[in-house]
């Protein structure tokens, strides 16, 4: 009996018995130390192993009922939540998981039956469908922000209504511009949240715990920068590595020992890989924009077959400065305001141009996820600007969550065509 067979059995079980009790039971079974250590033997990459370990442990804790649960949208400062002892659940990431687990048909159908229109982003729609089916542990708090899209604000607000969390729903309003009044406005919101939530969970607000979380975040940042520097010249990646599989540790676990540790392991493994990489090995360097499909797909295999390697992703770019541990709220506000997806599209454009320059990118793939209007609306400008730098951009329409909304054949043809162009330059 091999590991693949067991994985498929587990997937079948989830798909056919989709309820919170079964998820809890499976996690209890899979994420116990003995099973995890046996499972660990099957990994060929230590980074991959720890990603899976930490994810499973995190999921088990989420469903354990022992921690206050906080739903949060992707770009909120998780250092704050982790520093307050909350267990964050990222519905958007869970939306991605529903695709990977093959249950998005069920969650999306649930959303559709409750009048969520097919024009909406499937990350949010699938997550909403999952909450309607009560697949996630019940939240004690919900945090959302207007960074980077409308869908996050509104879908999280609807979740707060479902769980009757009016007073425990916190919205972080990130201004369009980054100026003195913006940072003050944002920092004061974060500070209010910290004291208000601390009072509600009946714990004494501990700035020391918050500082500890920020220290972990800074350590994670340092390691992530190291990883990204190595990636500028790395082509021999550990098997199954894809930067976009690390969204949970990069965002939700930010401010925890796990994310700092995972990126330290990653940096070490990448360094070893780089040392052993043959000096003649050269591949075409791709920058990936937005997210990727989280259901099984061939895109990255096709790229590799055409001697192309994704060496950087917009979502794993370290865009923020080290956070001043003595000014945690101002530091976290600064981090949020530094996000390239905030406000003016030139923030994103300039970041992309800088990455393209730093990594000597040969081509850019922008995955235009269905319904992600904040991202897709700038595709034309990105294309025009990158063309000026002679860097081709493939605007690849698709859906990160709903495989029924993606044309496999068309995607394959477009990616192959793009890879051929890159190779001919």
């Amino acid at each position: 009996m091999n590991i693949g067979f067991i994985k498929n059995k587990i997937l079948d079980n989830i798909q056919n018995n989709l309820n919170v009790k079964n998820i809890k039971y499976l996690l209890y079974f899979i994420a116990n130390p003995i099973i995890l250590s046996l499972y660990g033997l099957s990994f060929k990459s230590i980074t991959d192993k720890y990603l899976n370990f930490y994810t499973l442990q995190y999921m088990k804790e989420l469903y354990s009922g022992k921690y206050p649960i906080a739903y949060g949208s992707l770009f909120i400062p998780y250092e704050l939540l982790n520093g307050m002892g909350l267990k964050p659940l990222l519905p958007e990431v869970m939306g991605g998981f529903t695709a990977g687990l093959g249950i998005s048909n069920q969650t999306l159908t649930s959303a559709a039956k409750n009048w969520y229109q097919a024009d909406l982003c499937t990350f949010h729609r699938s997550a909403t469908g999952a909450t309607i089916l009560d697949l996630f542990p019940k939240p004690n708090f919900i945090f959302s922000t207007n960074l980077a899209c409308d869908a996050a604000c509104k879908s999280f607000e609807a979740m707060a209504k479902k769980y009757n969390l009016k007073d425990n729903f916190y919205f972080i309003d990130v201004p369009y511009n980054n100026d003195k009044s913006s940072i003050k406005y944002l920092a004061s919101q974060l500070e209010d949240i910290f004291y208000d939530v601390s009072a509600k969970i009946k714990s004494k607000p501990s700035i020391e715990d918050l500082k500890k979380s920020i220290n972990y975040s800074n350590e994670f940042r340092k390691q992530a920068l190291k990883v990204n520097t190595i990636r500028k010249e790395l082509f021999d990646y550990p098997i199954y590595y894809n930067g976009l599989n690390y969204i949970l540790p990069f965002f939700g676990l930010c401010g925890t020992k796990q994310s700092a540790n995972l990126y330290k392991i990653m940096a070490q493994e990448f360094q070893d890989k780089q040392k052993n990489q043959t000096s003649t090995k050269k591949m075409k360097k791709i920058l990936w924009l937005h997210l990727k499909p989280y259901y099984p797909n061939e895109i990255f295999v096709i790229l590799e077959n055409y001697n192309c390697r994704v060496v950087s992703e917009e979502f794993t770019h370290v865009y923020w400065n080290e956070i001043d541990v003595n000014e945690p709220f101002l530091g976290l506000a600064d981090k949020m305001l530094s996000n390239p997806l905030r406000g003016d599209g030139r923030n994103r454009l300039n970041t992309i141009l800088k990455i393209a320059d730093d990594y000597k990118i040969d081509g850019v793939i922008m995955f235009s996820h269905w319904g992600c209007r904040q991202s897709n609306g700038i595709a034309k400008i990105l294309k025009d600007e990158l063309t000026k730098k002679s860097i081709p951009l493939l605007n690849l329409d698709g859906d990160c969550v709903d495989k029924n909304n993606a044309s496999v054949g068309q995607t394959k043809t477009r990616v192959e065509g793009f890879a051929e162009i890159i190779n001919s330059i």
Partner: protein, 396 residues
Amino acid sequence: MLEKFFKNSIKLTKNINNKSDYIGYTCSYIPEEILISTGLKAIRIKGNNESNLADKYLPTNFCPYVKAVWEEIHQESNKFKAVVLANSCDGIRRLRDLVNYYENNLPSFILDIPKENSPKSIDFFTNRLKNLYGFIKQKSNNSFKNNSSLQSSVKKVNEKRKLLLELTNFYEKENKNLLNTFNYFNILNLSFSSDIDVFNYELGGYLDYIRNKESVPSKNPKPPNRPLKIMLVGNYINDNNLWEIFNNLNIKLIANDLCISYRYFNIKIDIDNLLDNNEWKNQQEVKQDKQKKQEDKILSAIAKSYILKPSCFRMLNLNEKVSQIKDQISSNQIDGVIFISLKFCDNALYFYPTLKLELNAINIPCLFLDLEYGKSSLGQLKTRVEAFIEMLSFNY
């Protein structure tokens, strides 16, 4: 009929070509009183919905209103001295990017609008309004008129809103068909597409006319059938084809929660009590300081009024919004709700499921329509609306 009473307003909407005078804007959260405070004219950009050139710049599944506005700005950028956009949604943020990138000779300003109505948000919004005021003053260097001021522009816009509320009250109550749905919405459209002085004057005259006409006893005293009362809930719905459909049905559109209806004109900025002259007894204080302090107070009052006005779906007050709609339904004895959203409006589309659930709970039928801006399949739309009205008539 409208041409007779609104001759000059209509003429002005067709002749916006004097670049030095016009500021284009897009959202009911942008205070018109600031835009016109230095003597410039403010025109809400309706957009060019006839062409498909915007598809070259924006994805297929993108807000059709944003596309139409981009089309108009891109094709006729000379029309405006500047454009003021609101950070109201993802679509408008991307519109600003297009303006910055492809029309970089056209000055633009984006107004940050908080999503909450807390005191902190209002302070922040006041600060942003000061920036907007600065931008407008800067853009009107040459055309600044001495008799213009923030104070007088607030009064002017308050007057317009008062007249529009009176018009709406008349439309909703009258039963002699003196003001039909098509004309009512066309007057609303004129209210933000023309010169405010001209419009206020003409609307005042029109109101006098229809009130007089109403007071004349009817030759046929038989009371007409009570029309069905329908409430429209939606975003920027400003489509003559749609009004035409409603015009031909025996219904009244009541308490409509649209960007061009109550959300636009149900605002009152009370500045009379703000301007306390006693504060300025000290003759040493220079006139400019006095003026600056007064302006700050007015801007703060504007900020508060706009943040607390009937809210757009973008704001974070789902429960409050739903209960306001339910209150309107109850107090106006609404028979059914038509939720109309321009396609791909995330804010509206996320609001709908909650509203639908709540309306189901109080047995109010609700029809969902999503529209392409000016390009919807009219026949299909007509059939769906008629079927809904027919269904309501059976229950009535």
